[in-house]
C-alpha cells in the first residue's frame, strides 16, 4: 500500500480523558478513506491533531515521509495538508468567490508592501480567481459568487467549504469532517460523487469523517473505525461496517 499520511501511537488527552489513545492509521495515496465510529470515539480530535489545531501529547504524524508532528497548522498546510470543518468556518465578511480564492496560498501580493505592486501579483491572482470560479461551478454555487456566507443556505455553505479545500496547489491529503452533515440525501450523494471525481481527475487523497454511512460506503475505497480513542477495525469499507466489533461499538454492549 502506498501510504501518504501516517500516524504512529498518537495520543491526545483532555484532562483525564484520553481522546486519542495510541492511534495508528495509514492513509493510502490517491484513495478515499473513511473514518467512522460512534460519538466520542475521537474522530474529530484525530483530524484536529493531524491538522495542527490541537497539539499531540505523544506519537508522530508523518506526511509523505516527513515528520510534521511539531509544525504549526499553517506549516502543515504548506506541506499539502488541507482540512474542512464540520460546521463550516467561512469568512463572514468575504464574498463567496473571495472565500474560495483565499484558500489558495502563495500569492506574492500578501504583504503590506508587496500588496501595492499589482504587477507582482496579478497573474497569480487571475489564475487563482479563475480556479475559484471553476471550483464554484464544479460545486454548483457559481451564481452565488458575490454573496456573503450569511446569505447562503446550510447546504450551500457546505458546498463552499468543499470548494475551498480543493483550491490549494497540489494538496497531498484533504481531511474532511462530515462534508454531508445537515444537507439533504440527494445533495449528499452529489457531494460524494464530486469528491470521487476530484480523486479521479487530480489523483487526490481524502480522509473523511462521515456518519451517513449508507451514502458514504458506496464511494469510499478504504475505512478506519474508531472507538474509545483507538482504531478497532480497518479495511474495505463494507467489511469494516459489518465487522462485529464495529457494530458492537455502535450498538453498545
Amino acid at each position: 500500500m502506498n501510504v501518504i499520511l501516517e500516524t504512529r501511537g498518537l495520543v491526545k488527552k483532555f484532562g483525564e480523558l484520553r481522546a486519542l489513545d495510541g492511534v495508528d492509521i495509514r492513509v493510502p495515496r490517491g484513495k478515499i478513506t473513511l473514518l467512522i465510529g460512534p460519538n466520542g470515539s475521537g474522530k474529530t480530535t484525530l483530524i484536529n491533531v493531524v491538522s495542527g489545531v490541537y497539539k499531540a501529547d505523544a506519537g508522530k504524524i508523518i506526511l509523505d515521509g516527513e515528520d510534521i508532528t511539531e509544525l504549526p497548522p499553517y506549516e502543515r498546510f504548506k506541506r499539502g495538508l488541507v482540512r474542512s470543518f464540520q460546521v463550516p468556518r467561512l469568512f463572514a465578511g468575504l464574498a463567496v468567490v473571495e472565500n474560495t480564492a483565499f484558500a489558495r496560498y502563495g500569492n506574492p501580493g500578501e504583504g503590506v508592501i508587496s500588496g501595492l505592486f499589482r504587477r507582482l501579483w496579478r497573474p497569480f491572482e487571475e489564475e487563482t480567481v479563475r480556479r475559484a470560479v471553476r471550483m464554484l461551478s464544479f460545486t454548483r454555487i457559481r451564481h452565488l459568487w458575490d454573496r456573503r456566507p450569511g446569505e447562503l443556505s446550510g447546504g450551500q455553505m457546505k458546498l463552499l467549504e468543499i470548494a475551498r479545500v480543493l483550491m490549494p496547489d497540489n494538496p497531498k491529503v484533504i481531511l474532511m469532517d462530515e462534508p454531508t452533515a445537515g444537507v439533504n440525501p440527494t445533495l449528499a450523494h452529489e457531494i460524494f460523487k464530486f469528491i470521487r471525481n476530484m480523486r479521479d481527475e487530480y489523483d487526490l487523497t481524502f480522509l473523511i469523517i462521515e456518519h451517513r454511512l449508507d451514502i458514504a460506503v458506496d464511494y469510499a475505497d478504504y475505512a478506519y473505525a474508531m472507538a474509545f480513542g483507538k482504531v478497532i477495525a480497518e479495511g474495505d469499507p463494507r467489511d469494516v461496517l459489518e465487522h462485529p466489533k464495529v457494530i458492537e461499538s455502535y450498538l453498545g454492549g
Partner: protein
C-alpha cells in the same frame, strides 16, 4: 452663515491628520480585527519625535556645527532661566521645560531655516526617528496581539497606551517636557504650510495605500484573519506575522500623522494625547464610516471634525442658551455629543453606515464570464 476662517490652516491640518489616523486604525481594527484601544500612544510617538527627540538632535547638530553660538546660547539662557547651572550642554538645556522655548525659538529655528542642507537633513532624520519609534512600539504591541483574545487584547492595548503616554512621557519631565510639554523642531519659515502640505501628502498616501492594500490579496487575507483565525491558519497563514505586519504599517502612518500635527502646533504636551481624542475619536470615525471601508473612514473623520468645529464656533450662543460657560461648551459638550452620537450609530447600524464591499483585486465579473464561455 459660517465664516470661512473657522476652517483655518491649522483646522485643515487637524482634519488631514485625523483622516490618516482613522485610515490607519481602520487597517488594524476594521480590516484585521485588532482592537487597538491604545492608538493615542502611536500618534504621540510622532509628536515625541518632533519635540523630545527633535530638539535634542537639533541642539546636538547646532553644537557641532556652530560651537561658539551654541555656547553663547547656553550662557544666555542660563541668565534668563533661574536654576540653569545644572546644564552642562545645550542638548540638556533644550529639553528643559523652562529653557526649551527660548532655545528652540531664538536659536535653533533661525539656525535651521538659515541652512537648507541642515533643514532637509534634519527633517529626514526626524521622520526616520518617527518611523523607527512607530515600528519599535508596533513590535511590542503586536507581541501581545499574538497571544490574547480580543477583549483582553483591547484592555491591554488601552492600558499600554495609557501608561506609556502617562508615565514615560508625561510624568517624566526630562523626556517630553511633562506637564508643560516642549516646543517642537519646525521647518521652513512658515511651519503651518509645511505641516499642511505634509499632512495632505500623508493623507493622500494613506488613502491610496489603504485602498491598494484593501484591494490586494493582502486585504483579503487581513479580513480572513479578522473573521476566523483558526480557519485562516489552517489555510496556511501565519496569523502572528500578518498582525505584526499590519500593526507596523498602521503605526508608521499614525506616528507620521502625529508628527505633522505637532508641526502645525509647533509644540506638544503628552497629556493632550489622551485616549478620548486620539483613540476614541478615530474609533468613532471608522464606526460611523463603516468598519473596513476606507472612504467611510474619511467621511467619518470629516463629518466629526466639521461638526466639532461648528460647535466650537457657536459656543457663545449655545452657552447663553444653555446657561453655561462658553469655554465649557467648546471643551465638554462636543465630547458628550460625540459619545451620544456613537451610541446612536451603534444602535442604528451595528455595521456602520457604509458597508464593507467586495475587494477588487481583479475584475471578478470578467473572469467569471470568460470561465463561463470556456465551459460552454
Amino acid at each position: 452663515m459660517v465664516d470661512w476662517w473657522i476652517f483655518s490652516d491649522s483646522f485643515l491640518v487637524t482634519l488631514l491628520v485625523y483622516v490618516t489616523v482613522a485610515l490607519s486604525l481602520n487597517l488594524e481594527a476594521g480590516f484585521t480585527g485588532i482592537p487597538n484601544f491604545g492608538k493615542h500612544l502611536f500618534v504621540f510617538l510622532g509628536a515625541f519625535a518632533a519635540q523630545g527627540i527633535g530638539v535634542r538632535i537639533a541642539a546636538w547638530v547646532y553644537e557641532k556645527l556652530r560651537p561658539e553660538e551654541a555656547a553663547q546660547a547656553l550662557t544666555d539662557v542660563s541668565r534668563l532661566v533661574p536654576g540653569a547651572s545644572k546644564w552642562t550642554s545645550l542638548v540638556q538645556a533644550a529639553a528643559d521645560t523652562d529653557a526649551n522655548r527660548i532655545i528652540v525659538n531664538s536659536y535653533l529655528k533661525p539656525f535651521i531655516t538659515s541652512n537648507l542642507a541642515v533643514e532637509v537633513l534634519l527633517a529626514v532624520v526626524i521622520l526616520a526617528v518617527t518611523v523607527a519609534l512607530a515600528m519599535l512600539f508596533g513590535l511590542i504591541a503586536s507581541y501581545a496581539a499574538l497571544r490574547l483574545r480580543e477583549d483582553y487584547l483591547a484592555i491591554l492595548l488601552l492600558s499600554f497606551g495609557e501608561l506609556m503616554v502617562m508615565v514615560i512621557f508625561y510624568q517624566t519631565e526630562s523626556l517630553s517636557g511633562g506637564n508643560k510639554g516642549l516646543w517642537a523642531i519646525t521647518f521652513t519659515r512658515e511651519p503651518i504650510r509645511f505641516a499642511l502640505i505634509g499632512s495632505a501628502i500623508l493623507a493622500v498616501i494613506a488613502f491610496l495605500y489603504a485602498e491598494r492594500i484593501a484591494n490586494s490579496p493582502m486585504g483579503r487575507t487581513m479580513r480572513a484573519v479578522r473573521d476566523d483565525e483558526v480557519a485562516a491558519s489552517v489555510f496556511g497563514r501565519d496569523i502572528a506575522l500578518i498582525r505584526l505586519k499590519v500593526i507596523m504599517a498602521a503605526s508608521v502612518l499614525a506616528a507620521l500623522a502625529g508628527f505633522f500635527y505637532t508641526e502645525s502646533n509647533a509644540s506638544a504636551t503628552a497629556r493632550t494625547f489622551n485616549r478620548v481624542i486620539w483613540t476614541f475619536l478615530p474609533w468613532a470615525m471608522i464606526i460611523l464610516g463603516g468598519m473596513a471601508n476606507n472612504k467611510g473612514a474619511i467621511v467619518g473623520a470629516v463629518a466629526f471634525l466639521i461638526g466639532k468645529r461648528l460647535f466650537e464656533y457657536y459656543q457663545e450662543p449655545i452657552g447663553q442658551a444653555l446657561h453655561i460657560q462658553a469655554e465649557l461648551v467648546g471643551s465638554l459638550l462636543p465630547n458628550i455629543l460625540i459619545g451620544v452620537f456613537i451610541l446612536v450609530i451603534l444602535y442604528l447600524r451595528p455595521q456602520g453606515i457604509l458597508p464593507e464591499s467586495i475587494s477588487k483585486t481583479v475584475d471578478f465579473r470578467r473572469l467569471l464570464e470568460e470561465e463561463a464561455r470556456r465551459e460552454r
